[in-house]
Every structure is written in C-alpha cells, then in structure tokens.
Symmetry: C2
Subunit: 442 residues, 2 copies
Amino acid sequence: MTQAFARFLAAARFEDLPSAVRDEAARSLLNWMGVAVGGSRHEAVEIALAAVSPFAGSPQATVFGRSERLDIMNAPLLNGISSHVFDFDDTDLTTAVHPSAPVVPVLLALAEYRPVSGKDLINALVLGIEAECRIARVVSPGMQEIGWHATGTAGVFGAAVAAAKILGLDETRMSHAIGLAATQPVGIREMFGGMTKSFHPGRAAQNGLMAALLAEKGYTSSLDGIEAKRGWANVISTVQNFDALTGNLGTRYEISRNSYKPFACGLVVHPVIDGCIQLQNENKLTVDMIERIDLVIHPIVMELTSNRKPKNGLEGKFSVYYAAAIGIVAGRAGEAQFSNAQVTDPVVTGLRDRVETTVDPSLRQDQARVTIKLKDSRILERFVTHAVGSVDNPMTNARLDAKFLELSKGILPDDRARHLMELCRTAERLADTGDIARAAAG
Amino acid sequence: MTQAFARFLAAARFEDLPSAVRDEAARSLLNWMGVAVGGSRHEAVEIALAAVSPFAGSPQATVFGRSERLDIMNAPLLNGISSHVFDFDDTDLTTAVHPSAPVVPVLLALAEYRPVSGKDLINALVLGIEAECRIARVVSPGMQEIGWHATGTAGVFGAAVAAAKILGLDETRMSHAIGLAATQPVGIREMFGGMTKSFHPGRAAQNGLMAALLAEKGYTSSLDGIEAKRGWANVISTVQNFDALTGNLGTRYEISRNSYKPFACGLVVHPVIDGCIQLQNENKLTVDMIERIDLVIHPIVMELTSNRKPKNGLEGKFSVYYAAAIGIVAGRAGEAQFSNAQVTDPVVTGLRDRVETTVDPSLRQDQARVTIKLKDSRILERFVTHAVGSVDNPMTNARLDAKFLELSKGILPDDRARHLMELCRTAERLADTGDIARAAAG
C-alpha cells in the first residue's frame, strides 16, 4: 500500500491537477502565509529563535514576518510554530489535521535554497496535503482518541512527501521517505492549550524534511512503513481503514475539503461565535442588557473547549464560554480578541460566567444554537446551520484577503502585504517561488 | 509525578552518587565510545552526513571516528546512528532500552560547546539513563508490544534530562524539558533490521537536546507530561506503572543494571552464541563434523530473530540460525562476523540450514541449551546459565577494553585509541570533558 501510494506520488504532475484544486492550493498558501506572518512576533517564536540561533547554519531561508534568516532545516521549525500559534490556520475537518502548517514551511525553505517553479510548488503542496490527510484518515478517529495530535503525527508525512516531490525522488526513495516519516510522529494532546501545541507542526515539518533529505541520499527504511504489522498505522491507532490511503487517488483531492478559519480559535467553537456575532450585529447588544446565554452544542465542543475560567489568551481559545462572551462584546473574534487583557477583562468575564451549555449529539459539528435571554425578558435565538468557514459555508476570497491584511498589520507595510498576497494568489505562474519567501521577510 | 521526578533531577549532585554507580558510568561511556568509533564508517553514517552537511551550522562538535565536525544539534544525530548501527551498544535488559546511545552524543556535543567538568558529565549521564530507563519501565511491556522502539521513545527523555542537567535547568524548566520530550517519541519496530533502526537513538538525542534548549530559553510545556490523561504514558502504552518513576529515587540507580554486549547482535541471541563458542573452543569443531545443531531458547528469541535465511550482515543480526552457525565457524561474533560476505558464505549458510530451534518458556532470557549432534554420533551439549554480558555474568573491564580496541582498529591509531579509553575511564576527574570528544576525532 505504501508503495502504491508512493508510485502515485512520484508520478503525479502539476498538469494532472484540476483547476479547482490549483485554486484551492493558492487559497491555502495565502491563508497560511497570513497566519505565519501574524504569529511571527509571538513569544513562542522569540524563544524558539533564541534557542536555535546558536547552532543554526547559513542564512538560507526566511523566518516569515521577521528579519532573521536560518538554514533550511531550522527555518521550518520557526515558520511552523508561528503559523499555528494563533490556532488560526487551515483545518481538515474530518481528521482535525491542520494541513498547511507542516507542509508549506518546508516548501518555501527549499524554494529559497534551489529554484522551485510555481507549478512544482503547487503540485508538491497539493500532494503533501494529500498524503497527510489520507494517512490521517486511515487511523481516524482511533489515533486522536488515544491522545495523538494529528497535525504532528500525520503532518510529518505531508512534509516528507512535499519535500520529496521538490527533490524529485523516485518511487523507491519516496517509499523510504515515507518510512522515515512514519518513525517520527510528533505530538500528544496533553499539549493542547499551551505553547508546545504549535511546536508540533514545526517539528513535524523538520522531521519530514529530514526524512526526505535522508532518503534522497540513499538512507533506506521500510517499504511498507504505513501498513506493516508494526508500521505506523498499527502502532499509533486502534483503527485502520487502509482504503482511505489509495481510494480515488488522482480524482478526489483532499485539499478540496480544506477549510479556513474566520475566528482565531478552534473550529469547534466557530458555530457558537458565528451565532453570537450575528445576534450582536442585528441587536446592538450591550453586556448589561443580557441575563444569560444558553448554548446547544455538539459534544466535541465540551471535549475540547470546556475551560470555564481561562486565565490567558491561549486558554481563552479553548473556552466555549469565553468564545460566546467575546463574540457578543467585540462583535468579532480575530487574534486581538484572544489577548491576555481581553480574556481577563472584567466586563467579558462577567458575561462569560452567565454562559451555560447543553450538549446535543444530533447536531453536526458546524452547527450550534445560541439563545440569549435579555433582562427585559426578550429572548433572542439563532440556529447556525453551517458556521462561516465550514466546508458548506467557506470563506470567500475577499474575507481571506481581509484576514491576511488584519494579521499582517503592524508587521508588514500595507503595500508589501498586498504584494505578498498577490504572489501567493498567482504562485503557479511564478518562475521562482523563492520570491514568495523573500517577500515575506519582516 | 513528573514534577516530583524533575525536582529530584534538578537537585541531584555528583557527590550523591555511590562510587559503584560512578564506575558503571565510566564503563558505559567507554563501551559507548568504542561502538561509536567502530560504527563511524558505516554507510548509514556516510549517507546521513551527506544529507545534513548542506544545512549544518558551525563546526562545534566532533563526529566521532571521523574528521568532520558539525554543529551541536547535528553531531548527535551522526554519533547516535554510528553507536547503534552495529547493534553492539549497551542494553537495559528490563526495557530493551539502549541507554547510552541517545544520551552520550548530547553530553559530548555540549562539552565541546561550553566547558563541562567530569563530575557534571558523569552526573548528567547517570541521570539521563535514570530518566529514560525509569520512564520506559512505567510503560513496559505494553509500549514495546504495541510496536514502539523503547530506545527512541524513552531515549528522548534521557537526552533531554542529560542536556537539562548540563544547562543547569531548575525544577520547572526541567519539567518543561520533559514535557517537550514527551511529545517527540521516535521509533516503530517495523524498522528493526534496517538502517532506520539506528536513526532512532540519533533522532531521540536531537529531540531531547532540542527539548532542553527550548526549555532553557523559556518555552513552556505541560508540567505533567508523563502522567496526564493524554500525556506520554497513557498515549504510548496500554500499561502504566507509575511507581517505577519515583520509587527508591536516589538509592537504586538504573545504570547499575546496564549490560554490555560481547557479541555484535541482539542480546536475545547471546546465550546461543555463548554456548556455541564454548563448545567450539573445547572441541575444535569443523563444519563437516556436524550433522545438526539443536537450540532450546526463550520465546523472545523467535519473536525477534527468527529470520531463517538472512541475506546481509544486518539481517544476520536478526537470525538465531546464523548466530549459532557463525559462533561455531568463527569461534567469535564481533562486528566482522556480521559482514555481508560472512552472512552469505556457503560454508556458514550450509551449517545455518542444519540449525533447529525449540522454544521453552521456562528459560530465562539469558539462558539457552545448545546440543550439537556430530556425524560420528557423538552428542555435545552445553546449558548456558547466564550468557556472558548479562547482568549476572557481566563483561570484565579487560573484555570491555578488548572490545574497544577491536572496534577502533583501522579507525584510530592504537595509541590514540588507548588514550581515548583512558579519558573515558577517568572521565570524572577531567576538568574539561570536551577533551574526550576531541580525542575521538578520526
């Protein structure tokens, strides 16, 4: 199975990609770059940069949104962290993999090291995402239930395959790269809600790149790394659905289902925030008008975001109570709404403590019911059928652009930000995609 | 529990170590350095060096047995690979962890980067091994049965703790380093018998060093990385015995049970080889005298080394049939006896095909019965009570020295090899243990 998959990957060409898939790749690239630039001044990035700088190699690759440059192995760690640290990057809803974060940092680092055309970059991006999402689906939901973070454990395959395509590996070396990736999963769920969560895609990017570089030079591994008795799928999960790996290869593309977040927190709370913002926009609510807020939500929401009293911005992203309150108070939920100051603001916490939840397993994950009881006895209600940013209600290109500009504000000058967006949008036509990476320097 | 363990580690001083523990640390260091120098010209090392050189940083640390130098993050990868590639390094028999391979490369790299005294190095070595072996015992044998390679999955803790001691991390940062290690396990058992197996301790060394360097600069992680609901122990295994983590801390030391191999293959076949070599030495057997060889062995031997017809040296290490045959033909089983040429030599394979096995669960793992039926109808028999190299029949210092000199022959001049042995033996008295690393340059 690994070999059949490797054969497809080694042979797959840009020319084979449907135009909708190419377009989605450009949207993924643009959205990813926005969150990477936006996250580039986060404390986690500063710390990691201080840690790796003393032993880093030549300045081969850009740390996006910053002036520092690192070697091609260390830059992806930093860019992987910055792109996930706001929890604002793209998501594969079936597996909870954040597809771009382990893949794009590797591609853009390689593009600064050796010329990579736009066609090759887009093809490698699509195939990297194809690999990580399909391999994650083989073991879902068992892997996640055991406690693994799919973005790190499956993401390493995305990075390995993307790099292997840029390096031009044949079927056998592609299989070895996949085997070397299989033996380096990253990420346990205990780290959710902390700095180490964003380390996972960064390290997965490095592990995958290392796998591909070793395989390129002839390092051998298993040819059956995914399906062998003690291969990745059997070791990391209690569930194995190997059909997910090779079914409809080359006709159905995983990236087509990629989703982009309008709000800077976990997707599971998006329906609640969407409903709260709608009610706020329509009713111009103030906190002192509200007696209580009742949320009816899918069970996953309580599993992942049940923190009743978050103490800082990061914890706020894992609190459905805070999410509802800030949706009402701010009428939006960008990264600025998850600052430490906002999360501990007495006005917001007062409202947060009047939020109650009821779980309803019959809801879809992109649905929620928000009921606001006002002090004047009026009751406002909104049922969100498909939250904005879900597959059935995707972000428009205009909303993606607005998100990019908001994230890059104060980091890149406006004209530079718009130029960078243009490069991402038109990536497939570039002769040298290193231009994208260089344009993202801060 | 993680925090209590971190508290012990952060406070533990060289002066607290019993002298037998210090002596064992020196034996571990000497044995490890011998196999690292011996493995340094292996193809896996050459390939990995070619892969990492283009992005490596300043020449901060020695690649042992070679002239190349790499930065402190990349050198441990190479030295981890070379020290495990012959499968000839030390072993903790309870968990199958190879304790030194993830730990020593990190210590010696740091010792070239900043002055590290002999006392600090020995203390960090003991504590690194303490951490990985205890943490492995928490989840044994469940983790190994699922298919994880303990040297990579637990070894990362050894590397992290050893580095954290050298960096002088306090209890909280030690906990964060352990948390960052917990989220980066390496190694699935599908890779046994191939080049990627030796990648595991090398990568575990890097992951642990990265964990400690990040924690030093303030990167935060879980404070309960091992025992949390979705922490390492619960995610990686179906078995958790948390008493193993903190019981008798500071009085019973894991390194006291470390074992060193006389033969260049898995420990499980050592009893068979020991018995065959004894019978060969006493009877001066030739292949044409032998009708058949019958082995009675512990079940684990067939689980790990049942390859009937190994095709190359590495596969030969995982064949109890080949092991018995080469013990008779060569009267020894060093690395030279596991060359591709030896494993495919018709004289040896002819005898190999006359070896039969019977499993007996009542045997201990360090026991075996070897029965040789000669063509003249005589029957020779040997029951091995404790194989040489086991805890109850350890390698003497003289045998460790001989092993070191055999491994370093052709790589280091004899006087240099003896000087290096002396530095390892007297490590705790050195003012600057960077001297050890520099003396191991090829």
